[in-house]
Symmetry: C2
Subunit: 544 residues, 2 copies
């Protein structure tokens, strides 16, 4: 039997566009003499469709598109992910389904049992869990069809009371399929490969696993679809971070050798590729072609500029240098050098006149007060205004350059440097941003060396350094990681050997800056726990 893995990049809600992509890949698979063609979870509507699923007219349109797709099928069967209306009297109105279509019609529907509802997932918001277990009989074989999380209950204890595979295995399947919408995180790829290998071995079944690729706003999907033998050998693996298509000649008892894709199992390279894909898709899927960014001479804006240059091309980038009286010469020189290295044109708009005007205007109200955060933020917001003016005038997307360490402790100005359509580094700790810069420079200097070695500074007052108000980034990031990713409490973090006063200080900074983060742009997610939709903390409340 010939089975095609179609790893495509879907746009959420774009039923016509997704339909065309799916049909094209199906037709190619037919031409390649495939018997069965696999597409990923909710491929037809793109994953995650979010509250589009609450709209009955959208569900109708999904079904009509599915029927139209079915009309284009012949003997070669297709399995495609689609939301399907429940016909049960009770329970939620939808299932997250894998629909088998062939010979012009919908043949059979299999639905997801384990609905993830943690972190960025909220599938129980929309779907009823399936509790009817069948195999699909095709070409004399019994095929077990599962959807993503259905194979993720190998932990003991598990989050779920039902195990779909322990039901399905009793029906004696010959083959296991999993259609998936499994998002990227830099720790997730290796977990996913391992978990799928264990499934194949545990159930002694060949496993065809197909994932989606591409970003939908902040959530990035890395692909990595696989064919794994019943011995747990990854015999075929699709590319990461790009569309791919593979037809596999499968015979039950054939021996396969490992052909797993030689992807770079390196956190920083993975993050780099994920962010690049996230940016490319943010622009292409929102029909914006050009970007603007404020170059501060610091690390974050330099890394974002290098990334966006890779993603959409230097000709589409319109950076601004926005020096104030506190900007050091090296900030300007370093930014200019960055642009030269990237072959990027730029403009310089000194902001001091605008800042002075604000200070004059505000003098009557500020009389008798000491210059401080309000004055510092005025500079950042003046820059924000100018960048947004450019964005509004020419239709550029402003890129946000806030990194995860800053976002965590609130070291940034709301409506100032926290502006932007998309946050590129909001899920990348400062220590990781340094490594990203080194990675970007792996084949020669793109980010000027001086940016890498000078001490970080917001340059909002004379001689200001990040280290004036923050601990060393190595320490800061280590504490943040324990608090945010590992969800440890202050006592547990102190028990790891960190200074007690510092731990409380940092955790309190994280807690009380939720009000800023909640107004941040969507953050490209690369870690297991990003700020944004996957971390919902009270804005007003007492957290620790």
């Amino acid at each position: 039997m010939r089975i095609a893995l179609c790893q495509l990049n879907y746009k959420v809600g774009d039923l016509d566009g997704n339909y065309s992509k799916i049909l094209k890949a199906y037709n190619q698979a037919v031409a390649d003499k495939a018997d069965l063609v696999l597409f990923s979870e909710l491929a037809l509507c793109g994953y995650p469709p979010q509250d589009l699923l609450d709209y009955p007219h959208f569900i109708d349109k999904c079904y009509q598109t599915l029927v139209a797709l079915a009309k284009n099928t012949g003997e070669t069967a297709m399995i495609v992910g689609c939301p399907m209306q429940s016909e049960l009297k009770h329970g939620k109105k939808l299932f997250n389904s894998a629909v088998v279509i062939s010979n012009g019609k919908i043949e059979q529907v299999f639905s997801k049992t384990l609905l993830p509802n943690y972190n960025i997932f909220d599938e129980y918001r929309y779907f009823e869990p399936n509790d009817v277990f069948n195999v699909w009989e095709f070409n004399g074989l019994k095929i077990a069809i599962t959807i993503c999380e259905d194979l993720w209950d190998l932990d003991d204890p598990t989050l779920y009371k039902t195990s779909p595979m322990s039901q399905l295995i009793q029906l004696g399947p010959d083959l296991l399929i999993n259609i998936s919408g499994s998002p990227f995180s830099y720790k997730h790829i290796e977990n996913r490969r391992e978990l799928m290998r264990i499934n194949a071995q545990k159930y002694n079944l060949s496993l065809f696993y197909v994932n989606q690729v591409g970003a939908n706003t902040d959530i990035i999907f890395d692909g990595g679809s696989m064919f794994i033998t019943n011995e747990g050998v990854i015999a075929e693996e699709c590319e990461y971070f790009e569309e791919d298509f593979k037809v596999i000649e499968w015979q039950p008892n054939k021996e396969y050798t490992s052909h797993s894709h030689n992807y770079k199992n390196d956190d920083i390279a993975l993050i780099y590729n994920a962010l690049k894909l996230g940016l490319t898709d943010y622009f292409s899927k929102s029909d914006f072609a050009t970007a603007t960014i404020g170059l501060s001479g610091g690390l974050d804006s330099a890394v974002v500029t290098a990334l966006i240059a890779e993603a959409i091309g230097v000709e589409n980038i319109f950076p601004l240098l926005l020096p104030s009286k506190f900007s050091s010469n090296h900030s300007i020189d370093d930014s200019i050098q960055l642009c030269k290295n990237l072959n990027l044109s730029y403009d310089i708009i000194p902001i001091q006149d605008a800042v002075n005007t604000f200070e004059t205007i505000l003098r009557p109200l500020f009389k008798g007060t000491k210059s401080g955060v309000a004055e510092e933020n005025l500079q950042a917001r003046t820059r924000g205004n100018i960048l947004m003016a450019l964005s509004n005038k020419f239709g550029h997307i402003l890129l946000n350059t806030t990194n995860k360490s800053e976002a965590a402790v609130g070291y940034g100005t709301l409506y100032g440097d926290m502006c932007g359509g998309i946050s590129v580094l909001g899920d990348v700790y400062k220590t990781q941003v340094y490594k990203l810069a080194e990675y970007i420079n792996r084949n020669g200097e793109i980010i000027p060396k001086n940016i890498l070695i000078k001490p970080p500074s917001a340059e909002l007052s004379h001689g200001q350094l990040d280290s004036d108000s923050l601990p060393d980034y190595n320490v800061l990031d280590a504490i943040l990681y324990q608090y945010i990713e590992n969800q440890l409490g202050p006592k547990e973090i102190i028990d790891l050997g960190f200074d007690s006063k510092l731990v409380f200080k940092i955790i309190n900074m994280v807690d009380r800056n939720e009000y800023k983060r909640i107004q941040m742009p969507p953050i490209l997610r690369v870690s297991d726990k990003a700020f944004g939709i996957g971390r919902k903390m009270p804005v007003v409340g007492k957290i620790n």
Copy 2:
């Protein structure tokens, strides 16, 4: 038997504060010779605790606080809501529980079966549904204890496959209790009263219903705890929008007359009270005392000012008038009149110098372009900067004045008039804002009449009116309501009699402005479908 309904205002996460409140009310109930004292759902941690529940140290602290509370109880029993660790091998780690404590210890735990996971609710993110049904035996009575949604499955078909009451009723209970965290919406009070009455009648049981009151960030709880007889008579009803405490002498066969609270069943009065409570609690629970606001001379800022004056007192409000060259005289006069009516001091800061400086600075980049949205937004952002400078300097919270109609169609400037710590009117359509203004003026002019009768304008260019780019607000709001609250698609809305071109235009505006709304401050929720955590739409995606 004497039963106390304790309707308290909890702060999310503030275990010590909530503990003290609960204990004080319990002691008062003991002094009042109560046998049983009821507190609301998740009272100990406040509702909704969100991802605090993901932190094991927080769950431990909840348990320790519960144990400490138990130590303070005697013969009078208490039922209090608290997250409780599951002891099951599989499933989520927590239950949403009603814990019975008395005589110094935890006596019995009852947990929630129906976990709402739609709109603003995401309880399945944290909790395992209960599937073990028991009654609590107390003073010779069998008491059925349910939690909020457990009584909300009267629809046919229902969202759920299990019905807790159809299980519990088989155990022959004598009395029904429901502890609840049921948020306000202006349509919800009457639904809730009716539904609880139907439950009491259907199961022929007296029902003691206790809700929380007060706002946690954007979610407002209105209280309205009740004692309903088995014949469906509301025999006692707590106040709305404030803490309340009632001890009820209950006898199984006693006749009770209706004593339901004579609350104003009027949408606008309800919204007014809810917003006032939302504001009061936003300030008190976040430990901020003072507010600033930009007075445009328009309706929205006037209504917000009147509301905040009621909520935190005029002495704590520092409004700014920020006229530009496009501001009409009446804008300034009307704002001054508003301040006079409220006995409110204000400052005037003309923004034109700053706008001119920006235009000068930007001239080289904008050369050859026509003045338009970029220039208009510069004015709004200049105002935003000044207001935020005041906020940063003096620790005032900036109030956002965007209304729901504007938020829906993106008629507002990101980082300009969309700034603020909390959005007061973001869930109130413009047509409702007019009615709010009339309500505010019910005992005499607070909002100057001219503000109510002049045509709405953002005054960002000469002679600009909202009606230049938007349809009449009556039509706009009616279409928005069908799309947002009723989740109809374009064809269904057109079928209601609206102009086809207009419907598509408006829906497209709603869809493509998700990128602005996602960066809005938290929005006080007063409707069944507010922007914010209850409506998760793709930012990048094709929606219609």
